[in-house]
Every structure is written in C-alpha cells, then in structure tokens.
C-alpha cells in the first residue's frame, strides 16, 4: 500500500529531498487553475477532515465567500491534544513541506493571504522543526511575497506559527481562534460560523494538519485516484495511532476501513501475553468505547464505526486488555475532561466534576447501584447542552462505557441504594431516581 502522508523516503523532511521527489509541483499545478476548480477537485476526492468531525474538506472551503471586503484567513489546527492522538507531530517531523504545500493550495482555493498554524505549546521540538521547514520554504520563494515571482502568479500567502500554552479546548476551532487572537480559549457560540465570522471577525477556514497534508497528492494524481483508496465514503489513508496494550504501538498509515483486528494483531503485533482485549477506544478518548468481544469485523472509517455506535475521531486507537481496571480508566478520562472544561457552560463545568466524584467513589469501593444511573443521567444532561463539543467529549466515554460494560460496573458497586445527602436532594427533585426508591 502506497503511503500518502508519511512516505518511506529518507530525509523527506528536507526541502531538497522533497523537491527532488516532485515537491511543490502540486502547488504549481494548482496555481494554474481557478480556485473553484481546486475546491471542486478536493470535494470530488471525498477528502474528509482528519481532526475528529470528518467533514468534507472541499465543502468546508466552498463555504468561504467568493468576494469579501475583509481579509480572509486560513487556520491550521495542530493543537493535537486528544488523548490517544499523536499523528500531527509525525507530519511536523517527517513531512513538513507537504503540509506547507497543502496550506498554500488551500489558501489559494479560499483566497487567504495569511495562514496561521496553531500548535500546542508542549510541542516545542516540533514547532522548531516546522519553523525550520517554513524558513527553508520561504528562502526558496515558496512562501510569502516571493511566491509571485517563483510561481508567476498574482497570489501570495504568508504562513505563521502560533504557539499554544497548554489547553485542550484550543483544539476546538472557535476556541482556537480566540486563542490565536490572544484571548482565553473560550469556544464561541455558533452560528455565526467561521466562514462568515472567524478570526478578527473575518471569513476563516480551519483545517486539521493531516487534512491539508493530503491535498498536494490529490492535486498531483487527481481526485479519482484518491477517491479509490479505502472506503468510498471516507477515502484515503488514515494515520492510525495505536497505543495501550499492544506489542507494537505507533502510527500506522493505512487505507481507511482497515479492520480494527488487523490493526491490533497484524500491525500492532497483538496483545502482550496474548491476553484478551477487554475494551477499545477507536478514535481518541472522547469517542464511545467498544467491547473487546465486539471488535471482530469492525472497520476503521467514519461510516463503518457509526454502525457499531462509535466514531473515527482522530483515529487514535487505545487498546485495553482483560486485566485493565475500567473504572480506573474511566475515572482518569473523567478527570481529564474535568480539568480541561473551560468553565463557560454550567452543565460541562459542573457535570464533569460530578462524574469524576462519582467515579472516584466507585473506584474507592464506596459506590452504590444508583451511581451507575446517576452517571448516565449526568452525562445525558451535559450532552447537547453546551456551546462546544467538549460536552459530548466528556459525556460519551462515561455514558457508553457504563452502558456497554454495565455488568462490569455493577460488580464494582454495592446493591444497596445508599445516597449521600446531596444526592437525596437531587432524587427528591426527580432528577435521579423516584423518591420512593430512596431507603435512607
């Protein structure tokens, strides 16, 4: 299988090696066509966003106004903070020029003269690596005003790196824009959507790093070629990030729709000690977990995972074997979302804390059977009631882990309905369980 984003070419991150392998020829080809043609090709290729929502990249570009009195902007999301995801750092390190070329093509397609790459602050090393690549590309005339001369066109785009400083929420596109504007990373209410009202109130498109790294090959080899790879509804390769209890964790670039069992056993070398798989989170910690006895035949792409009640997310696959304490895992996930909630919306700010407290109670052996439904109730009351998707990200793992492993969780709690005072108040309001069920 041919690799698109992380090809096995030695020193591909160096500009001369990249050029020698046809680098920056896609940009040249793209600049010879109209922006609408480029958008059309990317749309037809079926390229879907790799940042979690799997939205059509071409369609997203087409939302940008054709004419605008205000400047237009392109943001590239390299915040990569979803637990289980570590793909973008490979692109910064091993193929930065393909990303830069993809940015240039996207900027041309939407008419943006400035592009900002937002990278999480923890990635000091990878920021430096990308900055070096950007410097090389600029000095060769591929980026900035010199583009006009280099490509013989009346278009140029400057590319800047914006360093984050530790906030998961900045991976949410509107929080990312606020952070880029030098504000607290609070997500914005949508609508208005970024294409109308984005950075500094101007039309803005936000794409994931991996998404844009896929663009140059699509332009060079044609949309038909790309759309034939992997699953037709979610074509191309994905950078699957395999972690947890597998013998060979790491990033594997494989066609979409690769079998989850192939990922674990064929590529990941199986589970240590040949133990059974208890649970798999297929797309980063916010995606619904799948039971280990249900992974047979599960394909890894957006549409196939929907049919088994999960989602592709960032394709960060976390594998847990039979000895794993799922209560501990879920409590750790809850702790993460509690820590990362920005605090704007009450259901998320308070709910994440409640879920953590309940899970810690179960973990300490003090949980009661009513806690299980209480967890689901809190999760349901967060989901859909918040400005951004962090609400769902926090609610889904709790709701689906508890529902799908109910037998497992029931074994960890006492059968007695023992409600602490605070919960009694809730139960009296009818929010948890009917008053008649309260024994104490």
């Amino acid at each position: 299988m041919e690799k698109i984003v992380l090809p096995d070419i030695k020193d591909f991150h160096k500009i001369d090696v990249y050029e020698a392998n046809g680098g920056y020829s896609a940009a040249k080809k793209a600049f010879g066509q109209s922006p609408d043609d480029i958008i059309d090709q990317v749309k037809k290729s079926g390229l879907r966003g790799r940042g979690g929502a799997a939205f059509s990249a071409g369609l997203k570009w087409s939302f940008m106004p054709k004419t605008s009195a205000k400047p237009k902007y392109l943001c590239i999301n390299g915040d990569e903070s979803e637990p289980g995801s570590f793909k973008d750092r490979q692109i910064f390190e091993f193929n930065p020029h393909q990303l830069i070329e993809g940015i240039l093509i996207a900027a041309y397609a939407i008419g943006a003269k400035s592009a900002y790459i937002y990278i999480r602050g923890e990635y000091h090393k990878w920021i430096k690596l990308l900055a070096k690549a950007l410097e090389d590309a600029s000095s060769q005339g591929y980026v900035g005003e010199k583009m006009k001369q280099k490509f013989g066109i009346d278009f140029y785009c400057d590319i800047y790196i914006h360093k984050g400083a530790g906030a998961y929420i900045c991976g949410e596109e509107s929080a990312l824009m606020n952070s880029l504007e030098g504000k607290r990373g609070y997500p914005r209410v949508k609508p208005p959507f970024p294409a109308q009202n984005g950075l500094w109130g101007c039309p803005t498109t936000i794409n994931n790093i991996e998404t844009l790294a896929n663009v140059p090959p699509i332009i060079n080899k044609g949309w038909q070629w790309f759309s034939a790879i992997g699953e037709p509804k979610h074509p191309g390769t994905l950078l699957y990030g395999l972690s947890g209890h597998v013998n060979k964790p790491g990033i594997y670039e494989l066609p979409s729709g690769t079998l989850l069992t192939d990922l674990i056993y064929k590529y990941g070398g199986g589970v240590p000690g040949d133990k059974k798989v208890l649970c798999v989170i297929p797309g980063g910690s916010s995606m619904p977990p799948i039971r280990g006895d249900q992974i047979e035949g599960v394909k890894m792409d957006a549409e196939s995972l929907k049919t088994v009640g999960s989602a592709i997310g960032t394709a960060g696959v976390m594998v847990m074997y039979e000895d794993t304490d799922l209560v501990k895992v879920l409590a750790r996930i809850a702790k993460f979302y509690y820590h990362e909630s920005c605090g704007q919306c009450t259901p998320c700010r308070e709910g994440t804390g409640w879920m953590l407290k309940i899970l810690n109670r179960i973990l300490a052996g003090n949980g009661s059977i009513s806690d299980i439904d209480l967890l689901i109730s809190v999760a349901n009351n967060i989901e859909g009631n918040t400005i951004c998707a962090l609400g769902e990200a926090a609610a889904w793992p709790v709701k689906y882990m508890v529902t799908r492993f109910r037998d497992y969780f029931e074994k960890r709690v006492s059968k007695e309905v023992v409600l602490p005072v605070a919960n009694k108040v809730h139960s009296m309001r009818g929010t948890v369980i009917p008053l008649a069920d309260v024994k104490n």
Binding site: P83, S85, K125, A165, L180
Partner: protein
C-alpha cells in the same frame, strides 16, 4: 521586588511576533513565553510589563496567564519534570513513574525541591501515546520509559544540576 524588564534581544523578538498579526494583542501568548524563558515564571511584574508593551490591562494579561496551564504562576525548579498519567501512559505504567519521581525527589505534584533544582507536575496527554510512558523535562521529551530509565534520567540531571 525588582522591576522586570525584557532584554533588548527579547524586546526585538516580541516586536517580530507583533508583526505576524493585524493587531498587537495576539502576541501576548508569545510575549509570555519569552518572559517565562527569561524570568522562569510569570510574576506580577512580568504581567505589568507585557501589558504595557501590548497596550492591554494587567487584568487582561492575568486572564491569559491563568487560563493556560503552561505559564507558571510561581517559580518552578530548574528542571520541571512533567509526567503524563493520561490513559495511554496510565496503561503502560504512567502512575508508577509519577509515584517514583515523587518519592525520589520527595515532593508532591506542583511542588519544588528545596534547592530549586526540581519541580514536578502531573500533566495531561502530551502526544506520546505510542511511546508511552513518558516524561518531559522542561522542553524535552523522554519516551518509552521504565523504572530504570527514570532513575538514570533523574540521576543524570542531579549530577548536572
């Protein structure tokens, strides 16, 4: 307390950051990074200085500092040890390593050793899931760790001081 002033070189770096954006304000994150590099942490004096350069109020800058976890609001050790305990690292023994560092340095989370050489922080996912467990010392990642490697790492840092 002495007044905090950026070095000439750092002032120039901040000027270059400002040029990246249509307005001054977005450079606040970079300015705070540069300040932390120079001063070790973000003090009240740093906040005042950054605010005056970027024409913001101190309160506004404090709002940024307190939102992002990587800006230190108190002095940290020369070597700031960050241990990831999120799921992928946890499955590979991240908590064991966190406890090991705690014991070896005799400090708790977000504390600094008496000689100010080490500080410890339990951090969220750093993107090392495929090379777990991991520790970051200041800006550098150390991955695929085990107890022995952690011991070696801490010992080598202790010797270096």
């Amino acid at each position: 307390m002495t007044n905090f002033k950026f070095t000439e070189e750092n002032l120039e770096r901040i000027e270059n950051e400002i040029k990246k954006y249509p307005v001054k304000r977005p450079a606040v994150m970079a300015a705070l990074w540069i300040a932390q590099e120079q001063n070790g942490w973000i003090s009240g004096e740093v906040i005042k200085e950054v605010a005056s350069i970027l024409e913001m109020t101190s309160e506004d800058v404090l709002g940024i500092v307190s939102f992002y976890t990587m800006y230190h609001q108190k002095p940290m050790g020369k070597y700031h040890i960050q241990v990831c305990t999120n799921v992928s690292c946890m499955l590979k023994g991240g908590y064991g390593i966190f406890e090991q560092v705690k014991e070896k340095l005799n400090i708790n989370n977000m504390q600094v050793t008496e000689d100010s050489i080490f500080s410890l922080e339990e951090v969220e996912c750093m993107g090392s899931c495929g090379t777990a467990p991991m520790i970051a010392v200041n800006e550098d990642y150390y991955e695929n760790l085990d107890k022995e490697k952690v011991d070696q790492l801490l010992n080598s840092l202790k010797e270096k001081k």
